[in-house]
């Protein structure tokens, strides 16, 4: 493998990896406040991409993306209010089936609105063939956009959870819901907020990655599985570890193309998921004692 090929794979891996990380963080935000794994997480990414593509001819690109994120955030809030808010102590099995049902519904609605075709946003800067020379390889500027915006999302989120009162309230809910309620925090609103937040960041990720990976009505399922792999790899609920795990999976996947056929690429990341579930279900960076107290 030449150095150029190596860096090429590396950049491809980082691009995909950071998207997986964003999806994984979306999983983690909802999991932390509710204990639910939202199987419809990948659909938020698809919705973000699709809505911005539809809005793009009507308005400038940044505005289209802004509206797409806003709309998806609202959809996230609606989903929580309609399907989840009023359930009293739902069992895990029940929530799994409900969120799978939601993901199917969103996918089918998308199929009927946008059809089976593959769409994409235009490149934010330049076009398909423009490239920037980094470390002796040609990299599309969009890759830098993806990495840049996703890094900003991650940084802002960690600041939000650490320093703003709202973020602290959400963390209080995830630490102990009853105690948080006793302190006067409206736990139900925090759950709605967590759905909005994870829908929003998912949608933004869907927009920035659309020019590279394209958007199709059913692209959410694959992303959800990989996002979940990353979330588990980093330790469920641990957002910062998810970034490291995301990059790891992305790079592994990119280099796997060198060895196995492309058709088996998905199978590889899922095999990693199965392996990690069997060997270290608490994740690479998590502690097994803490995981033992949680209910998956």
């Amino acid at each position: 493998m030449t150095t150029e090929l190596f860096t090429q794979y590396l950049f491809a891996g980082i691009t995909y990896g950071i998207i997986y990380a964003i999806v994984a963080i979306g999983f983690n935000i909802i999991y932390n406040t509710t204990g639910i794994i939202n199987f419809a997480q990948g659909e938020f990414v698809m919705l973000g991409g699709m809505i911005s593509i539809s809005l793009n001819p009507l308005m400038p690109l940044p505005l289209a993306i802004g509206f797409a994120v806003l709309l998806t955030t609202l959809i996230g809030a609606l989903i929580e209010m309609i399907f989840i808010r009023w359930l009293v102590h739902p069992s895990v099995l029940r929530m799994i089936i409900i969120t799978i049902g939601i993901s199917i519904l969103i996918r089918e609605v998308a199929l009927h609105i946008w059809g089976e075709g593959v769409r994409s946003l235009p490149y934010f800067y330049g076009n398909e063939i423009s490239s920037i020379n980094i470390l002796g390889t040609h990299v599309s500027p969009q890759v830098l956009w993806v990495v840049g915006i996703c890094s900003v999302i991650v940084a802002l989120l960690s600041l939000f959870f650490k320093f703003t009162p709202l973020g602290q309230e959400m963390r209080a809910c995830s630490a102990n819901r009853l105690a948080a309620t006793l302190c006067g925090i409206n736990a139900k609103n925090m759950v709605t907020l967590s759905f909005m937040l994870s829908a929003g960041i998912g949608a933004l990720a869907g927009c920035v990655v659309s020019p590279i990976t394209y958007t199709q009505y059913d692209c959410g399922t694959g992303l959800a599985i990989k996002g979940f792999t990353v979330a588990v790899l980093g330790g469920l609920g641990n957002s910062m570890a998810a970034v490291a795990a995301g990059l790891l999976l992305g790079i592994l996947e990119a280099f796997s193309i060198h060895i196995v056929p492309l058709a088996f690429q998905d199978a590889i990341s899922i095999s990693i998921l199965l392996l990690i579930l069997f060997i270290r279900p608490h994740g690479l960076f998590g502690s097994s004692e803490a995981a033992g107290l949680k209910e998956f």
């Binding site: 895990v92 099995l93 088996f264 998921l273």
Partner: protein, 357 residues
């Protein structure tokens, strides 16, 4: 088996016969094709019902087992072994000597040599059971979300493998699979003349499956399973070997799915990758949930109803959406299934009350 269960089985037989006679009387025997397919899908569903309802373990990978069965049998019975025999392949000539291969001529008069469907089916079942066993050991240690994702991941791997392997026909699937002659004169294939016979084969198989499962549920194993569903730790403490029982039921239900896959593949004369898709697995789970998890008769009824409507194309292009919507609605408003709604219990109570009064 208690008297009540004998009665249910008798009712099932009566319904199966009645439907066949009804289609004959109303001259709508074309329904039998879908009813036969529905029968095979129902076999998967009652198998999944055992895992989900009685042992309380979700499996989002049952279409994978269905596909392993169907594809193994399909590939073995379509792969032409003539060339291998001529080259003097030891295994092929051994099978040929034992009479386990079937040789015919194809449309163009070329010699075709393929594995006897009986042997193919047995191999497919053994393969599925082994895969289910070895996947089941680590997977069934997981709970809740992890179990759901792991089984979903297994299903996707099978789907990808099928889609990328040349011998399984990649995106086209396998076609022109020969019929499965169970006994001389009894053959599973899609011929028009064989429609009634195939309908009875399919539902006979379902009947055998139902009786097997009923016996299992009402035995020591069944009680152990319900204990696991209720509280796994408690069951463990009472001396129930929970991991072994979970594994057994998982393998049994995988074999059910595989048998259904084998028979349906021979009946349709082909199998495609969509049979291994995630939506199929989700659909099986949805039907079991609608039927009320630990209620085999509910799952069977709903399975027949929904599969038949879906196969007749009544939902049009909204097929998957309908299943998604039903899943959500049932889980929101009737998490114990449609047949376990409080309304029914009230009705049955009031009827019982009247009889007493």
């Amino acid at each position: 088996m208690a008297v009540k269960n004998y009665l249910s089985v008798l009712i099932l037989i009566a319904v199966v016969v009645f439907i066949q006679l009804a289609t004959k009387a109303t001259d709508t025997s074309y329904y039998l094709t879908q009813l036969t397919m529905t029968g095979y899908y129902s076999l998967v569903i009652i198998g999944l019902c055992l895992v989900m309802g009685y042992a309380g373990q979700i499996s989002l990978g049952h279409a994978g087992f269905f596909a392993i069965g169907g594809y193994t049998s399909g590939a073995l019975t379509t792969y032409n072994l003539t060339l291998l025999l001529e080259q003097g392949n030891g295994l092929v000539s051994f099978l040929s000597d034992k009479g386990l291969l079937i040789s015919t001529l194809d449309l163009y008069g070329e010699a075709v040599l393929y594995v006897n469907p009986w042997l193919a089916a047995i191999l497919a079942v053994i393969l599925t059971a082994c895969i289910a066993f070895f996947i089941g050991i680590p997977v069934l240690k997981l709970k809740g979300h992890y179990l759901a994702m792991a089984t979903l991941g297994f299903g996707i791997i099978i789907f990808r493998v099928v889609l990328a392997t040349e011998i399984f026909g990649e995106a086209d699937g396998i076609s022109e699979i020969p019929g499965f002659t169970l006994f001389p004169g009894v053959c599973i294939n899609g011929d028009f003349g064989n429609r009634v016979m195939n309908y009875y084969i399919a539902w006979g198989l379902v009947l055998i499956g139902v009786i097997l499962l009923l016996n299992l549920i009402h035995s020591r194993v069944g009680r152990a399973l319900r204990a696991i569903h209720g509280a796994e730790d408690a069951a463990n403490a009472m001396g129930v070997n929970t991991s072994r029982y979970k594994l057994y039921t998982f393998v049994i239900s995988a074999v059910f799915a595989a048998v259904a896959g084998i028979f349906l593949t021979h009946y349709n004369g082909g199998i495609g990758p969509s049979e291994a898709g995630i939506m199929k697995s989700v659909r099986y789970v949805a039907i079991v949930a609608i039927g009320g998890m630990a209620c085999m008769w509910g799952a069977l009824t709903m399975g027949v109803l929904l599969n038949f409507m879906s196969l007749r194309g009544m939902f049009g292009s909204y097929d998957d959406a309908v299943f998604g919507a039903i899943m959500i609605i049932i889980m929101l408003f009737a998490p114990n299934g449609l047949l376990n709604l409080p309304v029914w219990q009230k009705i049955s109570k009031s009827i019982a009350g009247k009889e007493k009064g």
